[in-house]
Amino acid sequence: MKRQAIRAAGPRYAYLRGVLSIPAGFLFLLAALGNWQVGPLRHDLIFFACVVAIALAYGLVVRYYQDHYGRMSPSPGQQLRGAAAVGLGLVIVVGGSLLLRSQAGWSLDLPVNAIAVTFAVVMLASYAIWGVLHAHHLVVWGSLFLAGALPLWAGADPSNVGLVMCGVAVIVCGVFDHIAFVRTFGPRDLPAAGEGNARA
């Protein structure tokens, strides 16, 4: 691995564990389907059972990465950048959605999909702040931004469709993140995991 790749090992481990994005993406899809009250999801209990199943899947994926790629704790600087990305994300999603399309008197009320547009901006900004921005991020989040910014969204509130678009983008981005992760840290079975963690 080259110097920059070695220096970026911490952030790459923290933010490119792409398989984690798959349950996260399904959470977006579940939210949209729940809002539409599709099939059994109209029952609160089933909806929450699906949320719990997604949380369990997320935990299993975390464990998969720990078992095969080890563990690390982020540096204070990295934690600060993570918190900055979350704070900026909240401001952009809430403020941007209200500004682009809402009932607020000062809203521009544009025919755009505000959730898709603001989420794409937040994700691009987050990957840049985390220091792990790759070409596939520009393609995935750029596509989501363009799809949301096209003036095709007049009429009914397009928030649920926006959630579906975000969910699909999160899953697709996760697949490419995992490919970038494997390119950095190697394939799953390189060292014999399990016994490989207790030397020195």
């Binding site: 691995m1 220096r7 090992a9 095969h68 080890g70 563990r71 704790s73 540096s75 204070p76 490989g196």
Partner: protein, 110 residues
């Protein structure tokens, strides 16, 4: 032969490529376990183990052995001295690179 400038004299303990990789990875995190270091540096288990022992003896890293989910786990972190020395080492390498870039055009023009 004149004595080299002190800021150009590299720390041999750190300059070894395997140890340089380990310390550089550790400088980018708060702490990391053996498997993460194995993955991030691309070293073999034996090499990583022996380099870590040398770095621990030199007081540049601390090694904590623990159990996670009933499996042994070795956690490694830079000490304050280790953090200071790896930062200084990279400054020296950058300084050397700038110096060699400045010297090269002069040598070519002669």
């Amino acid at each position: 032969m004149p004595a080299p400038e002190p800021e150009l004299v590299l720390d041999r303990l750190i300059h070894e490529p395997g140890r340089l990789a380990i310390l550089t990875v550790l400088a980018s995190v708060r702490d990391a376990d053996f498997l993460f270091l194995l993955r991030a540096t691309g070293l073999t288990k034996g090499n990583l183990s022996s380099h870590l022992a040398k770095l621990e003896d030199a007081g540049l890293v601390t090694i904590e052995k623990r159990f996670i989910r009933k499996k042994p786990n070795t956690n490694v972190a830079l000490t304050a001295a280790g953090r200071e020395r790896i930062a200084r080492h990279w400054e020296q390498l950058d300084h050397l690179r700038r110096w060699s870039e400045a010297v090269q055009p002069e040598a070519v023009s002669r």
